[in-house]
Structure formats: structure tokens, C-alpha cells
Amino acid sequence: MEPLNALVSVSNFMLVPALAYGSQLALGALGITLIFSILRFAHFAHGDTMALGTAAVIGGTWFLQAQGVSIAPLPTALLAIPFGVLVLGLYLLAADRFVYRYYRKVKAKPMIFVMASLGVMFVTNGITRLFMGVGETRFEDGQRFVFTVREFRDWTGLAEGMALRSAQAITIVTALVVMVALFWFLNRTRAGKSMRAYSDNEDLALLSGINPERVVFITWVITAILLVLAGTLYGLDKGFRPFNYFQLLLPMFAAAILGGLGSPLGAIVGAYVVAFAEMGITFAWRRVFGYLMPEGLEPSSMMQLLPVDYKFAVTFAILVIVLLFRPTGIFKGKVL
């Protein structure tokens, strides 16, 4: 029985990666929930716009690297994030101006908006692939690890090692800062309050002099920031492949619905639940139980509930359970 080793093993292979993945999902799901509560439609272009923003960041990173700029030990990509936000912000605002605004004006049904976002998704997808191709691009540089397996072992003297990759550490810290900032913005600033008012009751908000176009503008800008951050962090962690970003759509939606569409806190909680469920069910627990069980009783199988290929099935199962038993989500889908 070596519970400490078991804890280290489970942290190394499951808890820390799931925490990082959950943080990336949370940033994306926050964007989905914001768009849903202000513009009132499910934004299907979310994954692909995330890929476009990340592509811009990668372009910026290459430019900076060519200029010899570096902020080692941190990855250069962090410096390029403002550029990515600028590009994606302009892109989303242009999409709003040329696509969504018209449907808002004619008060189209929500499904028409979804369809339009499908068109935007197609176009965005094409643009991203024009620049980046379909293969995997890695753009992580700087120091790779905060501490490595060997350092950890030497330091603690345990048999089981643990590593913390810089990308994971940066992800978790950044996500925390962004979430706090977003809640401060929504609850304390004038613009944030007007957004909440608008999502609560559109007509009353209009009567009290809130400019709807301004609210929409702020929403897209915040979405751009969230998307570029989420995409860059995901890319630093796992590499950039446009198709993976498209596939993130399902877990992000599942997280937003699980938390309750329109509730930012719900989106964050939902994202971590989805991430931990995906990782926990597709994780091979053999090693961990090997440390926990008394000697001679170690498990012989992999103790893996489902193969990794089925991680989307886990997400989907969560979605189905929510839809069946609590369609309003954990936080009752309270609008903002």
C-alpha cells in the first residue's frame, strides 16, 4: 500500500492533464454561453473561429521568432496573443456586420442564426486551412517543463515521478485569471451590467437606454479574447490541428449545456466535469490501483473503462443524461 505514489501517479497522468483540458474547455464554453445569452443562438462556428484565432497567433509567433524576440522561459506565443485577438476580433465583428446583423434586424428564428453560423464555420474553416494546411503544427518554445519526472523523483524520493509541463501550468493560471477578470467585468463594470440586463430582458434593457449594438460589439470582443486564449493554450498543450478544434465543439457545447446555457459559472463547472469525466473514464487505472491494493492483489487488466477513442462518447453520454434528467443544466440555465 503506497497511497502517496498512487496520488502522484494519478496526478501526473490524469488530474493535471484534465485540469488543463478543463480550463481550455471552460474558456471556450464561456464564449458559447455568452453568445447564447446575448445573441440567443448556438454558435456552431465556435471551434473553427478558435482555430482561426490560433492560426493568427501562430503567424505572429513565427514573425516574432524570426525577429529574434523571445520571452524565455515562457513561450513566444503569449506575446502574439494580442495580435491574434485583434485579427479574430475584426473577423468576428465583420461576420456580425455582414451576416448576423441582418437576421437580428429581421428577427429571424434562432435556427436561421445557427444555419448562418454554419456558413461562417465553412468559410472560417477554409481560410484557416488555406493558411495552415491540415497537418499538425507545433509552436511551443521556451522552457518545456516547470519540473520534470526526474527532478520530482530526486526531490521527493518517491518511486513514482511526476512532471508539470509549462503549457499546463500556464493554462491553469491564465484560465483562473481570465475567469476572475470576466466575473469582475460582468458584475462590476457598467458595460458588463448592461450585458447582463440585455440578456435578462431585452425589451426592458432597450427601454432603459442600453444600446443593443454596443452590447453585441462587446460580446464579440470578449468572445474573441476567450477564443484566442483557449485556442492558444490548447495548441501549446497539444499541438495545432484544425480538425481537432472543430471536434472541440461537442465538449464545449456539452459543458455549456451541463452547466446551464447562459450561466457563466455553469459553463466553467460544466467544462471541468466534462474534462474529468472524459479523462477519468478513458484512463488506465492499473498503475494507481497497483499502489493502492495490498500486495498480491494488484489488478491484472488495464482497468480502463473505455478506450481513448471513445472520449466523445463520454461527453455525449453526459449530454444525454443532462437532456433526460435536467435539461436546464446544473445552474438552472439562469440567464447570465
Binding site: 451576416v99 448562418a116 456558413g119 465553412f122 474553416n125 461527453t315
Partner: protein
């Protein structure tokens, strides 16, 4: 309602363009485009039932077509006796245990009073059931996959005529659609979209991963065809004389004839479906569906069970997509789970429906022809354009190479633009609903 002169004109233009392809590019290409257009037209018909009649938004078309494709393997492939001997019973027993677990959980949910105890009981049932199931299922699938893995390693099919797989594919897709619809219909309309997106990813994951079922990513090839292969047609005298009169090579003539055989089969299916769909759309049932689509609240006030009707049309539409999926696999003669991509199989069909005219069956068919034609032809056009643009650059230029490589993605962009422009400026499509 029949077609107007304008609609017939649009179809005539489309076929004239295909004839031009046959003359100036190659007759095989024209036949390939025609066949895929026919299949796409059937998929578009299915989607049009869901969206055009009832306003249901299905983004899992890929999953339903793939399930239909699976039916072809399960029906037409010869069974593998060694694999059945090695683990066939275990696999079946495992599947049954899995279903029994879920049923037991449902039973517990229905019988016990709500509370923490019920939650715990369901959890216990699921865990115990899962452990038992995997104990039976795991070794059995391992045994099956170990049988001659280079060419078999799966249970095989029923060895029945391949045409039979088409209706079976429709039934498979209908079953999956019923499950999804049961869960997500009756809630917010976007939930169906998200649920179908999920199920289609899972269907593909299952097809890729469960090698005992249809060999997974190793693909099943050489499936029986309902039409003679070109190689069997080549020695026939009438094919040879056809080649002579048209000035084609014999192999070219044989593949054109074989392709046209498929076209004939597909046309029959399409004609039956259109006839049925038109009859349904103009019956009291069709009027009720459209009434529900246009105003759910008032339809409900008139005593219509909206959720049940939605479930019905969702299952019907998905069945049509499954049928098309089965037809596609039997045309290719192979099931390649790796080739199912959502952009190609889900979103492209949507572009077809919107461009053609949602709510109109003929519109969906025309849309399928136009969009599939563009999908095939835009890539060479994009490459040609890129070559024109980059012709001034030096041959080794990095940028030039990159631009030429990227020409393939031009078509995603073009399709997206087509969808957005149609939705904005001609939301009723080429052949509007009447």
C-alpha cells in the same frame, strides 16, 4: 405539385452542363458526378423532410449515412465461420448483457421512489453490469479479431444479396435516429442539433474502433456489387462495339456502362422516394407537418402532438439518409470509416438543401446536383486560378508552393460563401416551396 417550366429549365441546364463534362473532360467523370449527385440528392431529400417539412435541424447526417453503410457490410459480406466459432457467441452474449444492464437500470429508475437510494442503486446496477459485460465481451472480441487479421478479423456479414442492404441500412439509421430523437426532441430546438452532432461522431468512433464489427480502420473492401464490374463488361461484344462507335477505349466504355447501371438503380430509388415524398407533402399529413413548422404553439392548440410528429419525421428523414449511405457504400464496394468527414457528409448536404430550396423536394434534388458538381469542379478551378495568380513568381518560391498546396481548401470557402449568400439573398432557394 408539379414542376414549372422554369424548374424544368434549371434541370435541363444542369444536364447540359453534365453533357459538356462528358464531351470535354471525360465520360467517366460525368458518370461519376451523376452517380454521386443522385446519392446526394437522396440524402438531401431526407434532410429536406426534416428541415423543410418540420424545421428540425440535423447536423449528424454523416452518422446516419455511416450506419447505412455498415448495413451493407453486415448484409452482403460472407460470414467468417472461424471467427464465429472463436467468439461469435461471446460477442452476442456481451451485447445482450450490455442491453440488459441498461434495461435493468431503467427498471430501477421506474420502480424505486426518487431519492439518494435510487441514484445509488442505478449506479450499482450500471457498474456491476459493466464489469460483467466487459468480462464477456472483451475476450470474445479479442478472439474474433485474432482470426486471420490481415484479411478478416471480423464476424463478417450474412452473405445475402447486396440490394437487400439498402432497406436494412434505412432501418439501422431509423433506429439510431429514434434513440437520439427520443432524448432531444421536445426540448429547445438547438439541442437536437448538438445531440445529432454528438451521435455522428460516436457512430464514426465505433466504426473505427470496433474491429470485430467491420474491421475498423482496416476497411472492408471488395463488397459485392449490384452491377457488373467494368472488368466483367469488357469482353462483351456490345460494349466493344459501343466503344468503337463512341470513339472510346474499351475500358472506358466498360466503366461508363457499369456506372450507368448504378445510375439506373439510383434513379429508380430516387423516383420512388420523390413520388412518396410529394404524395406525403400534399396530403393532410404534409399540411399538418408544415402547420407545426410554421407555428408550433397554434398546432399544439389544435391538439397535435408536436413532439411525436417531430420524432416521426426525424426518424423518416434519417432513414432516407441511411438508405443513401448504404447505396454509396455498395457503389464504392468498400466501407472506409476513415473517409467519413463531417464537412463532406453533413455540412455539404445542408448547403445542397439550402441552395436548392428547403421545403421543396425537387429543389433538394437540384441543389444536390448543382452543389456536387461545384464541389468536384471547384478544386481544379481553384488550382488553375492559383496557378494564374502565382505564375509571376519564381518556381522555387515558398509562397507559391504553399498557395498551390492550399488550393484544395478553396472549395470549403466557396461552399460557405454559397450558403451564406443564398441564405441572405435568396433564402427560398433555386426552386422555392409552393
Amino acid at each position: 405539385m408539379s414542376l414549372t417550366a422554369r424548374d424544368l429549365g434549371l434541370f435541363a441546364i444542369m444536364f447540359a452542363v453534365l453533357a459538356l463534362v462528358a464531351t470535354f473532360q471525360s465520360p467517366q467523370l460525368a458518370v461519376t458526378i451523376l452517380n454521386m449527385s443522385l446519392i446526394s440528392a437522396i440524402m438531401a431529400l431526407g434532410v429536406n423532410m426534416q428541415w423543410g417539412y418540420a424545421g428540425l435541424f440535423n447536423v449528424g447526417i454523416m452518422g446516419f449515412t455511416a450506419v447505412g453503410g455498415l448495413a451493407v457490410v453486415l448484409i452482403a459480406q460472407p460470414p467468417v465461420p472461424e471467427a464465429w466459432a472463436a467468439g461469435g457467441l461471446g460477442v452476442l452474449l456481451g451485447l445482450m448483457l450490455g442491453v440488459a444492464t441498461i434495461l435493468a437500470a431503467v427498471l430501477v429508475y421506474k420502480r424505486m421512489a426518487p431519492g439518494k437510494l435510487r441514484g445509488l442503486a442505478i449506479f450499482a446496477v450500471l457498474v456491476v453490469g459493466f464489469v460483467i459485460t466487459s468480462q464477456v465481451f472483451g475476450p470474445a472480441t479479442q478472439a474474433v479479431q485474432a482470426v486471420n487479421p490481415a484479411s478478416e478479423g471480423y464476424l463478417g456479414g450474412a452473405g445475402l444479396p447486396v440490394i437487400l442492404a439498402w432497406p436494412v441500412g434505412a432501418v439501422f439509421a431509423a433506429g439510431v435516429a429514434w434513440l437520439v430523437g427520443k432524448v432531444s426532441l421536445g426540448l429547445r430546438s438547438d439541442y437536437l442539433a448538438i445531440a445529432t452532432l454528438g451521435i455522428s461522431e460516436i457512430v464514426i468512433a465505433v466504426l473505427k474502433h470496433e474491429r470485430w464489427l467491420a474491421r475498423g480502420v482496416n476497411n472492408v473492401t471488395g463488397i459485392d456489387r449490384p452491377v457488373p464490374r467494368p472488368i466483367e463488361l469488357q469482353p462483351l461484344p456490345w460494349v466493344q462495339s459501343l466503344a468503337e462507335t463512341m470513339g472510346w477505349s474499351v475500358s472506358q466504355a466498360a466503366s461508363v456502362v457499369s456506372g450507368l447501371g448504378y445510375s439506373a438503380l439510383f434513379l429508380i430509388v430516387l423516383a420512388i422516394l420523390i413520388w412518396l415524398a410529394e404524395r406525403a407533402l400534399n396530403s393532410p399529413w404534409g399540411r399538418m407537418m408544415r402547420a407545426i413548422r410554421d407555428n408550433e404553439v397554434s398546432a399544439r392548440a389544435m391538439g397535435k402532438d408536436v413532439t411525436r410528429r417531430h420524432l416521426m419525421i426525424f426518424v423518416l428523414g434519417s432513414a432516407v439518409c441511411g438508405l443513401a449511405g448504404a447505396m454509396m457504400v455498395s457503389m464504392d464496394g468498400q466501407l472506409t470509416p476513415g473517409s467519413y468527414e463531417p464537412l463532406r457528409f453533413t455540412f455539404l448536404i445542408w448547403v445542397m438543401v439550402i441552395v436548392g430550396g428547403s421545403g421543396n423536394n425537387w429543389g433538394a434534388v437540384l441543389g444536390a446536383f448543382v452543389i456536387w458538381f461545384l464541389w468536384v469542379q471547384v478544386e481544379p478551378a481553384g488550382r488553375w486560378m492559383m496557378e494564374m495568380v502565382t505564375s509571376g513568381m519564381s518556381l522555387e518560391s515558398e509562397l507559391r508552393r504553399h498557395l498551390l498546396d492550399s488550393a484544395a481548401y478553396m472549395r470549403l470557402l466557396t461552399m460557405g460563401l454559397a450558403l451564406l449568400l443564398m441564405l441572405r439573398f435568396a433564402p427560398r432557394g433555386l426552386i422555392p416551396e409552393r
